[in-house]
Symmetry: C2
Subunit: 463 residues, 2 copies
């Protein structure tokens, strides 16, 4: 590693100064508050699936955090959430032979969220492997009474792994019903990850009312490869035991607090993430990162004595992973309000890696060019227009709210996502803090300026 001092000094001297960003960076980087908040969430609460005791603990934790920061109007926004619980999870396979069954081998699996369970002894059947929904349709007559293994890989050739996720996750959502349509008795889905280990990744699925509800589980990549090899070599039978079940809905809540604006307090900028997590690991990146970004952003703004002109409101949304009930209840509140205007919303739900910029519902991002100055301090100055901000704030689109979503570096996210590896140890304090500061800076730009007006249509050049 050589010395590139001259280059760095030049770069430094070329970068325009934004005093607010400098203040945020000074405080944020010296205190690394986001990591402290995330540590507390991971260690004191841990994984916190909607409806669970841990999720209830998370609500109390969130309230306490907001009080500790000294936010205004800290309160709970009630919602009713589904309560699905995991149980025993075992998958064993073997090759049937004329003299009995070959040796049994285990697969590393976990039930997909909202799946039905199996009888105690599980379900047993021949395994049919498919690589796509189209492939399944082509094998429709071979599936009845069998277990369908959807072995669709995450495509590594997209620029962002989030694009790859979008391409693959449809199998997670729809595998069970697609297989049930042709009479299958269970489904397995290759985990939506690109990391080759034996750790399965969960996530929500949904049943199509038209078909039987069959049990469905995710398989780790190493286990998926083992199963694939066995199937390539001959007939494979599998026994799947899932003890998961859906219990009655539970009352829960999102947690809300704010810094009231000094000039237009009725114009609200929401910043948030989702408070629930899957019941795996510690929900560190998903979405402990968004929770800590949100709380840290308001903590530094408050402690620096910055007074935003419009209200910046933190919402820790409950139930994003399997129902969106927190998002719905917040939308309903905002839609019904006769005094407030839901001006803008920023969600962080893409992990705690180094921020690159923000996706936004705004189509013409050139109206945000002036804001790149302050965001460049955290090198988070890209805007990806015409998009979304996040699942929890998407309902606000109907209220004409300008939506923003933090976009971090994506390479590693799905290594950990929805798995036992989503732990604090895989979050980097500096990267996490940069995300919090980027959210803070954007929130302040919105609070002080509102949403910039669209540019007038260009006049044709005088001929």
């Amino acid at each position: 590693m050589g010395m590139v001092l001259a280059a760095l000094s030049l770069i430094l001297s070329q970068t325009p100064v934004d005093k607010t960003s400098d203040m945020l960076m000074e405080k944020g980087m010296r205190e690394l508050g986001a990591y402290r908040i995330l540590s507390s969430l991971c260690k004191d609460v841990g994984a916190r699936l909607s409806g669970s005791p841990e999720a209830a603990k998370a609500v109390k934790w969130g309230e306490a955090q907001m009080h500790a920061i000294g936010l205004d109007n800290v309160h709970l926004l009630p919602c009713v959430v589904p309560h699905w619980v995991r149980g025993k999870e075992v998958a064993t396979f073997w090759t049937p032979t004329p003299n009995g069954n070959g040796p049994k081998a285990k697969l590393a699996i976990c039930a997909l969220g909202m799946s039905v369970g199996t009888p105690d002894a599980g379900v047993t059947g021949d395994v049919v492997e498919v690589t796509s929904f189209k492939d399944l349709d082509a094998k429709a007559d071979k599936v009845k009474g069998k277990i369908v293994f959807f072995n669709h890989s995450m495509n590594p050739t997209f620029t962002s792994t989030f694009q790859a996720y979008g391409d693959a996750v449809g199998y997670r959502w729809g595998a069970a019903s697609a297989a049930a349509k042709y009479g299958a008795k269970a489904a397995l889905v290759r985990s939506v990850t690109m990391r080759y280990d034996d750790v399965p990744h969960t996530g929500a699925m949904a049943y199509d009312k038209a078909y039987d509800k069959i049990p469905v589980a995710a398989v780790s990549l190493l286990s998926a490869n083992r199963l694939h090899k066995a199937i390539a070599a001959g007939v494979v039978q599998l026994n799947l035991q899932l003890g998961c079940q859906t219990l009655p809905d539970e009352p829960s809540a999102s947690v809300v607090g704010e810094i009231v604006g000094t000039e237009h307090p009725e114009e609200v900028i929401v910043i948030g993430g989702h408070l629930d997590s899957w019941d795996k690991g510690q929900g560190a990146h998903d979405d402990g990162a968004g929770i800590s970004h949100t709380l840290e952003a308001l903590r530094v703004i408050k402690e620096l004595g910055i007074k935003p002109k419009r209200t910046i409101r933190a919402v820790l949304f409950m139930n994003e992973e399997n129902g969106g009930r927190g998002a719905t209840s917040y939308h309903d509140y905002a839609a019904a309000s006769k005094t407030e205007k839901a001006l803008a919303a920023i969600e962080s739900d893409s992990g705690g890696f180094a921020p690159r910029g923000f996706g936004t519902s705004l189509k013409d991002v050139s109206i945000l060019d002036a804001w790149k100055t302050g965001l460049a301090r955290f090198e988070a100055d890209r805007f990806y227009g015409g998009g979304e901000g996040g699942a929890d704030i998407e309902p606000l689109r109907a209220l004409n709210t300008a939506l923003f979503g933090l976009v971090p570096e994506s390479s590693r996210y799905f290594d950990f996502h929805h798995s036992d590896n989503d732990r604090l140890t895989n979050v980097h304090p500096r990267e996490l803090e940069l995300g919090a500061l980027a959210v803070a800076r954007l929130a302040l730009y919105l609070a002080d300026n509102g949403v910039p007006a669209p540019k007038p249509a260009e006049k044709p050049a005088k001929g």
Copy 2:
């Protein structure tokens, strides 16, 4: 984590297509060749300090890699390198009391590269702590016969950790002579890192001929804090034993190979990294990343059958860390060549994290705007103008070569840099591959277009 499919599809559809980049991404991401190359370097060679048997092994390894790829004109470019070797390294400190010495505690230290050693029994003296060169000057009369502890922290508030490195590394280079100027007998320097562990980080230092050569070692952050606390509580004495020494120079070499250009073979684009590493860990990020970026870039270009119009030459520079003899010998070769033109050079010496763009010696980076399209495929489309490319290619500036340096995400780099933690396990295969592909794409832009001409000065608007 919600579904932001709509956003991603929109982003995807908005991104202009670059067919070359698509080809590179398809092949690179499916094969992850850079990580395979780096694995081989780390496991078959390991840490490889100039002059060591491992460095000699690295030269053979590099040649074999180039032959395996099928590069043209694979050869060694000889140079003579310094041969410094580490020895025993122990630092113990205690508080002297009227009844003898307090209990002795160890510090985690390592000699700085090129430091002189100590007698077997080491050097012993009171410790004086300073926080800057200015602070040292203010304490000049307190330093004679003592051990100076330079406790300057890396500043976390810079946007890039490389800026923080530039701010702190002057202490590593100059601490020994600064302290010797006032009669100190040894120096200790806080490691240039922001990671709080007990692992020291080495790196080169240089002696000012005007002063005595005193031994100097780096201290881990945890040990620096322990020493600081002890000094704050009272007098501290320390014994430093370093068995390092400088042996006679050794013959060595950089490794060179290329794809000869089809139209202007005499115009050369160099791509490279440094083949030597410090004698810590495996030299994975520093600079195994640059070596694997370089070799993988040419491997994918070659195997895809892409024929660049100008020559793309890989140079694995020897001795970047402590002498730059490989860089000097390449410059001398290029300066003396009557046939070749050293058109451009790209160095990767900032680690294997996800690429963000390139620093460049070109001042007006708007002339490169068209190239952002292809680089955006790897989200490596930033250009930081008026800077450097890297220590190994800097000498080519004198030949008017356009210099480029890969700039990856910087947050984690100095956690590992020059320490036992610089290992393969801390490199991410996808991030590493993105860097290789970005280097490949820029090299192809340069090979096919040359260096774009500066824009003509803007004409004043007609009044």
